[in-house]
Amino acid sequence: MDGQKARERGYLEVEHTADWGLRAWAEDLPALFCTAAEGMYALMDVRLAKGPEVSREIHLEAADLESLLVAFLDELLYQVENGHAFARMDLSIAGGRLDGSLRGKPIETRKKEIKAVTFHQLEVRQGPKGWETTVIFDV
């Protein structure tokens, strides 16, 4: 992951002995979820192919924001395993629901595997400057 570029985009890799951590921040919740997704793609070093555009509609429900974030990133990991990643995401998050329209491309290469998104010390927090979270991935 390119540290400088990542900071400009609103995420940063967090050191962890065995796994990977990602801190992400953004002005609002949909942007936070998109930024976390972008950071996760960067950790895996996902490169998109030039092929035809792929699109997906997703609808997720969860009891709280942390569960919703895990479900969202888990959905994207599954899509990665199927060979797709999304550069444009239009998300709406309200009342424990996430509805999203995702547009992306087939994956040309990815160098790293993330096994899963964990709940370890996970919090989606609102601060004075917007929203932030730190996610630990099992790799």
Binding site: T17, F119, V139
Partner: protein
């Protein structure tokens, strides 16, 4: 950070953090470590995570931590926690995403000195026969019904297909098949992810390694295992691939609601759990066992493919090129076992997260040839260093729920390892030491550099000193295949 002064020294290799350390602890934490290894481990979250695990309802005895511990998520890696059957809890995060990640060791009577000129060829043949790396698929693609059957039968499924022998199954933990696997409890997504991944190694810290049996410490045990000094052995480290990852992800998500329903309060949401006899606990047990069986079968298929590579390389050049099974074991798993606690037989669910079962002599469930010596305990070291074959003891039965260490244990983060080590320089170093290397990515190689791990010999000295395993043989790597 937990200060060293909070621990009570039991012996040179055993320390206790009493349950008075934090109000919410339901049990003490007992660490098997030398003072040096314990001090080193205080630098990350390992012990805090063990303290968090000590808050689980229904714990029996102490939460145990092995000397190869390092920070994980929820539980520490190297953690062992036993909960009372049937009202204690089961925690999917205490078993891990890679359900039944484990190690299989095979051995041969091919002499290293004679095989040396052919090791490059062998490395290429293993790489060709055993798919590894990110997103790779295996040669098998099972129908839904076949996959369900495979998850019920585990490694036994391969027997009917001519890809396993009775001896392989006999020398596998639980004979390669956990009873009670219920594919109906596994999500369609987990099955879809797993369907094309049987017979693949994956990436990360998973590997396939050819070793030479360098030193024998217990001649009788090595004779029973078929380990002969100077001969080649082969170890396989991998697990249940996307199938297991998805089973755990689904369960950790589902259990977020279960803890509320059962009024369980936890310091970390990754520790979510449910009573073993609850509908949620039973559903997870059924799915977890299906994933464990998937992993037993995966390592069986990889062993079959590795045997093919041995034959392609050595047939006609040596008389006996067969790779016979030494043992196959899990180091991320939850098992229902009966242990002696306070003079009574207690049925418990032993969570082993980065810890190996290490049953001692006379324990039911071991194959006849290992019954008097105890079970082989396979401890792979970091890439390019050494690996150990240990044997379970009476001490492990008495003090660690029949468990021991599982490897060297990380000390550096992946980023720090990459800052300190260049993949190409590491490859050159390993090659200059006579190790033939096949690696999918140089960055991935740097992340797994020996410097990123503790010294496996120090870890082994600790478990031996603590009496929860004894030495049988030390292995030295000569071929490494990584994704």
């Amino acid at each position: 950070m937990v200060p060293l002064s909070s621990f009570i020294r039991i012996t040179d290799y055993e320390w206790e953090l009493p349950k008075t350390y934090r109000k919410d602890m339901r049990a003490a934490v007992r660490v098997f470590a030398s003072r040096r290894l314990l001090e080193k481990s205080l630098g990350d979250q390992s012990i805090e995570q063990a303290v968090n695990a000590a808050t689980l309802p229904g714990l029996v005895g102490d939460v145990l931590v092995m000397p190869d511990m390092h920070q994980g998520y929820g539980f520490p890696i190297g953690g062992v926690a036993a909960t009372r059957w049937p009202d204690g809890v089961i925690s999917p995060g205490g078993i891990g995403y890679d359900i039944n990640c484990g190690v299989r060791l095979l051995a041969s009577f091919v002499r290293y000195e004679e095989a040396m000129p052919l090791l490059g060829e062998l490395a290429a043949a293993l790489d060709r026969n055993c798919p590894s790396g990110v997103g790779t698929e295996g040669a098998l693609s099972l129908s839904g019904a076949e996959l369900d059957q495979a998850c019920r039968q585990g490694a036994r499924w391969a027997l009917k297909k001519g890809m396993a022998s009775e001896a392989d199954l006999r020398r596998t933990e639980e004979n390669g098949c956990l009873d009670g696997a219920d594919p109906a409890r596994v999500s369609a997504r987990a099955k879809e992810r797993g369907r094309s991944q049987l017979g693949t190694l994956g990436s990360g810290n998973h590997f396939l390694e050819v070793d030479v049996v360098e030193e024998i410490f217990d001649a009788e045990a090595c004779a029973a295992m078929g380990l002969e000094q100077g001969c080649l052995a082969l170890s396989i480290h991998c697990g249940s691939r996307g199938f297991g990852h998805q089973v755990c992800s689904d369960s950790v998500q589902a259990f977020q609601g279960a803890v509320k329903r059962y009024g369980i309060h936890l310091p970390d949401r990754e520790l979510v759990c449910a009573p073993l006899d609850s509908p949620e606990g039973q559903a997870y047990l059924g799915a977890m066992r299906a994933a464990a069986n998937f992993a037993f079968l995966n390592r069986q298929l990889l062993a079959h493919q590795a045997r093919r590579a041995f034959e392609e390389t050595f047939s006609g050049r040596f008389k006996n090129v067969h790779l016979h099974q030494v043992y196959d074991l899990a180091h991320n798993i939850g098992k229902i076992e009966t242990h002696q606690v306070g003079g009574e037989s207690v049925k418990v669910c032993v969570h082993r997260k980065g810890a190996t079962r290490a049953f001692g002599p006379g324990t039911p469930g071991l194959p006849e040839e290992y019954r008097t010596m105890g079970q082989p305990v396979l401890v792979p070291g970091s890439m390019g260093t050494g690996s150990w074959v240990l044997v379970g003891t009476q001490g492990s039965m008495e003090r660690s729920f029949g468990s021991s260490c599982h490897g060297a244990g990380r000390v550096l983060s992946r980023s720090e390892a990459k800052r300190r080590v260049r993949g190409d320089a590491l490859r050159a170093d390993l090659q200059s030491e006579g190790i033939h290397l096949r690696a999918g990515s140089l960055a991935g190689l740097a992340e797994e550099a020996p410097e990123a791990y503790k010294d496996v010999d120090e870890v082994v000295e600790t478990v031996v000193g603590a009496g929860i395993a004894r030495k049988a043989a030390r292995l030295r790597p000569v071929v490494v295949v990584k994704g």
